[in-house]
Amino acid sequence: MIEGIIIGLETAFSLKNLMMVMIGCFAGTIIGMLPGLGPMTAIALMIPITYGFEPSTGLILMAGVYYGAVFGGSTSSILINAPGIPGTVATSFDGYPMAQQGKAGKALAIAAYSSFAGGTIAAIFLLIAAPSLSKVSLAFRSPDYFGLMILGLTAVSAFSAKGHFLKAMMMVVLGLMLASVGQDTLSDIPRFTFQNMNLADGISFVLVVMATFAMSEALTIIFKANDPTKVAKQISLSELGSIKLDKIETKKMIKTIPRSSLLGFIIGVLPGAGSTIASFLAYGMERNFVNDEEKQKFGKGSINGLAAPETANNAACSGSFVPLLTLGIPGSGTTAVMLGALLGFGIQPGPRLYQTNPEIFWSVIMSMYIGMVILLILNLPLIPYIARVLATPRTFLIPLILFFSVTGIYLMSFNNFDIYLMIGIAVFATILRLYDFPMPPLILAFVLGGLMEENLRRSLLISDGSWSFLWDRPLTLVIMLTIISIVGWQIYKSLIKKL
């Protein structure tokens, strides 16, 4: 293994590969900030370029793009509440309120530090435990995944919408319903398409996230422009604030980062789980760990609430390389694109990769860490400039947000129907937000809908239609008991309030 690490270090520290990491991080950050272009698109755009390189150089470039794009997505989440990718949705819960309070610089700095720390810790985990972790990831079966997804949805409903648990659960169901539109993945039978060809492929994630977050946020700001209370009062889009963190803030982050890194990495290792579940679970977990005073700040600009998902999504990015490199199973959509690129290089990832191509295996792992360092060096000095977007007057910023949203979906489909659908969803979302129906549970449910159905299908088919799969395996049972305790706690809390 040590020999492999040395080979990896030699490859990663070659001038050419260092340049590639830098270019990748920079390009990824810019592309990730653009609406509708997440890491998956960013990597896909790089594939034709990488074919001229050696496999390790190509993979190093793509790893840099991956991390850069995730950070870029966080930036648009924090500044304009427009998460370009599912993994940064949880970042906006506290990042955007911080920006509204004139602490955009600080929020971006926390995101950069947390991403760096999460990525670093995960890279160390990856270095030590990659081969053995692949065996652990294989221990998870469909019922466990199904349980894990319900746990994620319940946790988000319970924690992201304080006092509105039932409203959040309705949003979860609505998100799952939206995800069910389109052809069934296994049988190709059309569902809820009403013979409209535009709905045959389902509704895209970018459409729903842009409609429910960026567009409806922009409409809400205009809608409440004369409201002297609540949201309208909080919107002070002219202050950037300092990027320096004081001792108390650093102390808060130091506690959050290790636990979120560990959780993020473990979730990232599970094939199919990825950074979205990791960031939402980390957000929920963090809320449970902090004291009551800090708990009240969640959703209103909590440092812990921002650091936790940012750490976890980066740690999960590193974790998702474990099943890719050791088993040949992509842990996320993005690593699936990378798998395609690897196969294009004539490399078959799997348990024998680090024996047959050690330079690729280890150099990618080493480059991840170098990528983290470069991302931090590159982005910290740029934060004041990036954050200046908030200084744009509202009369310019709102139309620009609407333009970015429409462009995001137009780039994906070149279709008027999708634009109308997005506007329709945005109008509904604006009304729902007005009455405190939370959007994060809807988004998470929409993202997980397909996977959830897939795992339920497998579980029910294996157990011959019996729901006993929920308690047959100890792991599933533990997950289900956790869900029951979260729901039970919500009921108990509402009963206590009544009494």
């Binding site: 609505l174 799952l176 634009i419 109308y420 088919l461």
Partner: protein, 156 residues
């Protein structure tokens, strides 16, 4: 039971879930799949029941934290005009092309929101869109259909 806007929204969601459930039952599955433990309509049927359950619970149970919204202070006019502008933007984006429709949408939106700095209105519309198009079309190689720019010979 006090009828609040949140309860009315929940009632609408209850009706929607009922319709969803009805439509889920209408999904045509393959005959060999009809009695399978899981088919294309199984998950939607569960979702329909879940929607009915949660919305019914919200309607029946007393509200723990009612939402207070002052409808009189909301800015309806500008919001509705912006939505109409977006619909028109969607309508023209393919016909007039990305450059023209986006630039005009931006100019009109700035004006609707009360902006009167004409130089900035111009800079943040036509030149801004041109630069954005260059980034997407020229640098990232993302195709943007634009009949207007093709007609005047700027775009190939």
């Amino acid at each position: 039971m006090k009828i609040t806007p949140s309860k009315i929204i929940s009632l609408l969601f209850f009706v929607f879930s009922g319709f969803y459930l009805y439509t889920a039952h209408q999904i045509q599955v393959f005959s060999f799949d009809e009695n399978a433990a899981f088919n294309a309509k199984t998950f939607p049927i569960y979702l329909g029941y879940a929607g009915i359950l949660f919305s019914a619970l919200y309607i029946i149970l007393p509200e723990t934290k009612p939402s207070n919204v002052n409808l009189k202070v909301l800015e309806y006019k500008k919001t509705i005009i912006l939505v109409i502008l977006m619909v028109l933007y969607g309508l023209t984006i393919l016909r007039a092309g990305y450059f023209l429709s986006t630039s005009i949408f931006l100019v009109l939106s700035y004006i609707v929101l009360g902006e009167r700095k004409w130089i900035w209105i111009f800079i943040l519309s036509f030149p801004f869109v041109a630069m954005f198009m260059y980034l997407l079309h020229g640098l990232l190689n993302i195709y943007l259909r634009d009949p207007f720019l093709q007609y005047i010979g700027i775009m190939g």
